[in-house]
């Protein structure tokens, strides 16, 4: 369905962004393999990025509904 396609596209975009941001942060000098400290950094970075995404998603939707209410109040 349309709904699951949108969710899938968003999950894919989240993985791509995490990949880009965490590679930039954790693999500053690419060597012949990922080192264990790079892998530790990557798994923490992954957790933090997902946490940031969830925090920002909540903050943004809260703001949107606050503004919708204000507009409705303004129309009374």
């Amino acid at each position: 369905g349309v709904r699951s396609e949108i969710a899938l596209a968003s999950a894919q975009e989240l993985i791509n962004k995490t990949n880009e941001k965490c590679f930039a942060k954790c693999v500053t000098k690419p060597g012949s393999a990922l080192s264990s400290s790079e892998e530790t950094c990557l798994s923490r970075c992954l957790e933090r990025y997902m946490e940031a995404f969830n925090m920002i998603s909540k903050t943004y939707t809260a703001r949107l509904s606050r503004e919708r209410e204000q507009r409705q109040l303004a129309q009374i």
Binding site: A9, C41, R44, C45, Y49, F53, S57, Y60
Partner: protein, 86 residues
């Protein structure tokens, strides 16, 4: 197939459904952009097992201040335009 038509009620329902889904897709896209931008602004150190002091507050405020900036800019532009017209 080209001649097949939904009745009017179903067409309206479909349109409402699609509109809501498109709004959701736009919200998703904005959340991705905001996360990327606020991550670069707020998360400056090596990622730890939790956010460093300051990073979490910065992330929470980043979205609201960005939207405030947007409103401030639009208000300023509208103010200038109404000054020019009067």
């Amino acid at each position: 197939m080209d001649n097949f038509k939904f009745d009017e009620a179903t067409q309206k329902e479909l349109a409402t459904f699609l509109e809501r889904e498109q709004a959701q897709a736009r919200i998703n896209a904005t959340v991705h952009t905001l996360t990327s931008m606020c991550w670069d602004k707020c998360v400056t150190g090596t990622p730890g097992s939790r956010f460093a002091r300051g990073e979490e507050g910065c992330l929470l405020n980043c979205v609201d201040r960005f939207l405030d900036t947007s409103l401030f800019i639009i208000k300023t532009i509208e103010g200038q335009r109404s000054q020019l017209q009067s």
